[in-house]
Symmetry: D3
Subunit: 333 residues, 6 copies
């Protein structure tokens, strides 16, 4: 079988969805969504372990792995209402970031080229360069905006002698022209990095970065609404990149560079739902889940739910009817 | 001595309160509250370990086990102001759910029959069938409403070939007539279970289930106020069932089926206080605490505080004077 | 699909060996070995978690799950040289030990009836009643001897009101006539259980139990040689039951009833190899692996290697040529 | 070298700031801030381990230890804009609280005497007696107010036969006259300690203690504003003492006496920023971080950020220009 | 009740043995053994946590806490065949080593004075000064020899400014004359402490210290036999002090100063059995068990078994008949 | 300062030894030993984390970091009797194995070129290619033999598309001619890797690999003696490479590819001592310590002791007098 399967552990798919083989276009020709694992932690500047992220995100759930997940909140079943396949992992050797990212970019572009939404399971944030580039290679450079949840701007330059570490993908995406700086929305930044020089570069690119003090002062819903308007201005689609460290370490300890003072898990899930309901999402990645630092699988479970929340909302958006979060559960449909 | 004591570990009582023996009615004839351990995890569909819940909830506290806990918030000492006994654990063999639940139901009914409030320390949520049935056996089927904190509806049908798993007790309680479906209030549901069929059954029973998106959109206090009105309509008492997984996994990792996006510990404690202050509580259980998955005992400590918050508020309700949460601590009494 | 797959987690097989379906005899008609998961911890008297044992034993390995494991020591590849299938898990509800064991016994007998060696992955030790009975049902009651590695004799009577807990399977096997007491060899007993009455019963059955002080004083190889002679006297085959707690807790912390002072992992692996090389093994189980109490997967890895060591040695025994442990690795074949 | 360095582990400084030697005044004559480690857990009444707090707070960060931390929120670099030295640890033998506290008090007074702000890294809360006394010894008894974040009032009397445990420092500070009871502001109290007698004593001292129910009912910002007015009335400076257990155990599990229902990490960081921006802080301590009970270093990381937030805000306050939390990050300076 | 009970946690006794009260001699007048908890970690120079040792050693067992433990190896039931009481813990404030040790010494002497064997559960090794002094105060200074299992000589002098740390008790015992240096047998030393000066002092005292290279080269049984001869020469009784760190960290991770390369758990248990069978033991302590650093309770379980092995062997020695470790279990009595 | 210092965490040296700067030859011109950190885990095929190995090995010790460690066994103080410097870490970006190894090789050669013994702290085993090549570049290709402790042969070919993973360094060393295959001694191999093809290649190179069954059957001392004879035949020096996974996972859980059934920690330490006493060691590395998977630092402590045992024995070998392991400690010098 040409299909690679997972790089680490047994050959399983996201909660049991069918497999596809990226070397055989017929296996995903009708896909709405294709899940791709990016088991890479060679770009990490601190705690590694995200190589085990794809497998953990695929399998961390207490329910049967039966390819069905009816959302209570949205009354859709993302895994049933959408045609979803799991392509397994792209082979990514930690010791060779350049080759690894190139391979990933090619595979993501195949998915986008087939008209499906790629949902990439990281891996450290270095993979987002490949993820978003792969989508933009198909949809057009400059035609895709970015909504980026993270504690960190990830707009750094060379680190440890490399252009390609997990602190730099957003700079590379903008420098390469794949994405426009002025359609780059960042949510949840905080802490003590980067310094003034990099912030100056970001301002020059006309990025819009919501630091946590602004979010607390203005309220997250207001910030999101503002960001959504920018994201859909002159762009055809939105890439959603979720670094799990946007959440407070109490909610997501299993990550490499935890920064206290972040969103709650609830806030992240509510935000992801809104984005996928309200915006034309063309790609998603969920990154920086590091199982060796997790406890009782709570970080992996959160990442699994971020994926499901996105899929459920994409399915609901396609269904087209209105959704009211205030509606009682048992009145719903 | 007829008293069984704890099934696992040494013979201790909840923070040192006196013991009683359910085979000797004279030992708890004057009780306001009787604590009963239900060390059972044979009903769990995923991570076990709640058999150690009763012992963990009884003992996880950094203060002396001296049978006194003055509440700062309420200015009562639940363990002193109420007559409380700990009956030890009911013998529950994990491998025999039917016999175990029957035994527990009988013992809980003894407590209720003596006019005391049973406070049951679980165990997985399967025990709530026995807990609430035992109370209803005494107070009358259909005369007790339920306020149920949980991430999950627990209204499923046969799982792993059994009617009695921890995903089904609420269905069994309503089907048996012990509790009325239309006086069944659920707070905190979320995630991807159950599916439409079960939700349809729930709607038919006229249950009222507050999913987290509704709670976030409307605010928890408003939802509680609405639920309280239903709970006290044509019912003589309220059973409070707290599944610790109603809290976010970041606040309660030590549980079997953690679902991201839940309440904070603070919200749960505030809710339990309000319920026990404002409603005629006739039974309480705290379930699904699984010490093997806990870290630094934070889940067990939370469950211990849920019990104390309930006892403190019951004591305050009996004292009868008004309580204002805005009053400064050192002005209080 | 009739095949059940694993009860918990995704549908995977032991290191990638092919699947079979116990409801379809044609799928394992040519099998040498069939692996069966017994995800049951309802019989445990203390720490649970062995329900996750089968999945952990199947997957805990740092090598690709490619259905090949060439043994350095034996120069066989058990997964290649033998025809091995994995039947998935038997459905076992923790809360119903009687039904669960009955179902398992039936499935194991199917495997034995097809002429294959069942290798059962526990689960707590209660499953061994079903495992060995299922084999004896086919090969004849009294025709199979037992070599039993354990810290505990597991010959207790009723516990927590049940005949079927994990402390009793060996008594049930002998009482039922499935196995002969005088062909029951126990290795590694120690500690403070059972008491004189049970030991008296064991002596009456003419069991041969090697306590650790005897093993230390005489040497493990001598004890094994003596035991082998008994095991093959008037019996047609040997069932090998390995309770991982036979090893010292330092080597196998992830178990429910750890007893200090046991074998090293090395001694266990060396013993399993000898048994499967020298004796006509007709069934194997590996039990009491409890992942929630494991650290860095070392207990699960040990159990995985116990299975591989058994399979490698069975393959080598079938090849028929002599094996010398003193032979240098690179001279070997 | 006279400088002691850390009591446990290698000789490192807070994120690489320069060292100073408290026995040589010239080494810190120009200091704005001097960091002092207080590696003492002999005062703890429950879980120990805070002796490793100073080292953990100094080093838990994923960024290079390069003595620079530009704050995104405040656009200052506390480690660069202020002259900061790390004096290493004061030698504190756990088994001798009296000698240990006396030594610490002397060293803190040296720092205050040099006109610098001492930032003490605990250690259990017993050290605050020495910390605040040392500052008051220089600035005048009764001239320094206290803002105290904690789950516990720490105003107990003799425990385990000692006046000096970590439950008593606030009583000792007021009794000794070092601090005024009516300028003692406590934020975040909750739970079941102390009892009425101690609360009566506190009321007599005219302390102002904000219990969590009051904070939830009124809002944290309003409570802080009220407290700030008291703290600056007739006092020359404010000592800020942060017991990490003011946060919910989900956000700060690594502590000795965790009390559910506390602040979020975000709320604590926002509060510390406001205090150091708006009040004349003359001393800071961060205590009760117990690494043995931490997970993935999240508690240590939070404490490190509490220190950085304080330093950043002190630097910003000295710069003197206004700060608006609503200002977009990339418009800022 | 005068009895103090445990300093931390609920009031339990060692595996359920009866309580006694050291303030009431009638409660232990007939005792063979009195268990005393010494919950002290104020003497530790590195990782603390041994304050929780007594409680962990008392309760870490998977069997019922029923005051009976029939030894398989020895065919005695130490808890039944001997009259054993548990006096609870001596109050020991970590912050005051001098007062704490004085109190402990007094209590131990009460036990010895009543003709019973004190079995002290530590606590860090500082407590051994009090333990052995208390026994020698009754039996005569110089009349008691010491068999001391440890990775460390514990003959250091002042550390962190104190004479009383856990690195020094053996020096204090010899200097004070309580014990003779030339009847001081140390087993299991290794590593990189102390230096030549202290070793010189030890040689001057004519101590006999078996370093691990000697033990490996000569064999542990031969070393023990040699040591036993010294221990019984001109002494009336033997004090057995077991620092759990004599075992390899793989077997006993839960300790403060782990030194790789130690005994196995099996070797320690075999040694303790021999000592208590062959020598006139007059006191025992088991120290340096630090639960916060333990995993799956394996260190606490080992310490519990060290106590049981000692009690079982003391009971067997009193019975007086010969014991052959080579005897098959089921032939035994 | 040109010196890089550690790549992760604060700038510390091995137990406080002086620093040197590899860009300034004068700083280590007189060195006997130079310690070099190789914080690289980009070559790992399974669990990462060895990037934190150098820092953990440098600092994991309960004694003061005072650059002195008197060996009880050998009566030398390796850190005092030898001139030892710590050069800090070589910058190694996980995502670029080729550049990283090239940089490390150059630095190691600098050390060897100065006549000092490089002691490299890994890092995953990929670094050994650079370590041994760097030494051979100075001492001559083919002039250095290898003694290699490991569970794995590490003679694999391309994995994950790379020649340079941690499963291949030994093949690369032999293929490149840096080391001779027939002077390559491997101790401790076991398990299920590599397959026949690779074993055939190894046999062709005339490597000598001691699998664990041979070691158990013949005894480790005899195997070592045999190996030593080969290692010193026609070679000028010996490189000692210790993969910590040569030990059983119970003794060294904190590693990436744990293989049950290995050496005890004691056996490894005894072997390292013998090698450095009896052979002309010219380079040492200690690799595969992965702190994220460690518990209570036992693996890091073992690796620290492997380094100290090597240094102590090198010092003793240079002193030149005989050493008898049977000599009592207090008679020694």
């Amino acid at each position: 079988m040409a299909r690679y399967g997972p790089q680490f552990g047994p050959d399983v798919t996201f909660l049991g969805v069918p497999r596809c083989d990226l070397t055989d276009p017929s296996t995903f020709a009708d896909a709405d969504v294709v899940i791709v694992g990016a088991p890479f932690d060679g770009g990490t500047t601190h705690r590694p372990g995200t190589r085990f992220g794809p497998q953990a995100i695929r399998t961390t759930d207490y329910l049967p792995h039966d390819s069905s997940r009816p959302s209570l909140a949205l009354r859709t079943d993302g895994l049933v209402d959408l045609r979803i396949y799991d392509a397994g992992d792209v082979e990514m050797f930690a010791g060779d970031v350049v080759t690894s990212l190139a391979g990933l970019r090619t595979e993501v572009a195949k998915v986008a080229g087939a008209g499906a939404i790629p949902v990439i399971l990281g891996g450290d944030h270095a993979v987002t360069y490949a993820d978003a580039s792969g989508v933009a290679d198909v949809l057009g450079h400059g035609r895709v905006s970015m909504v980026h949840f993270d504690a960190h701007a990830d707009t750094g330059d060379i680190e440890f002698g490399s252009l390609w570490g997990h602190g730099a993908p957003m700079r590379r995406l903008i420098e390469s022209g794949a994405l426009r700086g002025d359609r780059f929305l960042q949510i949840g930044l905080r802490g003590y990095w980067p310094g003034p020089e990099t912030l100056g570069w970001m301002a020059q690119q006309r990025m819009r970065s919501y630091e946590m003090t602004e979010i607390v002062a203005r309220g997250l819903p207001e910030c999101l609404t503002e960001a959504f308007a920018i994201a859909t201005d002159e762009c055809d689609g939105v890439f959603l990149s979720v670094d799990i460290d946007v959440c407070d370490p109490g909610h997501a300890p299993g990550t490499g560079t935890p920064e206290p003072g972040g969103l709650t898990a609830r806030e992240l899930l509510d935000s992801v739902r809104r984005i996928c309901l309200e915006l034309p999402v063309v790609g998603v990645d969920v990154v920086e889940v590091s199982p060796p630092y997790d406890h009782a699988d709570i970080t992996a479970a959160l990442a699994n739910r971020v994926v499901l929340e996105a899929l459920s909302a994409i399915a609901r958006r396609r269904r087209g009817d209105a959704w009211d979060p205030r509606q009682p559960l048992l009145d719903g449909r």
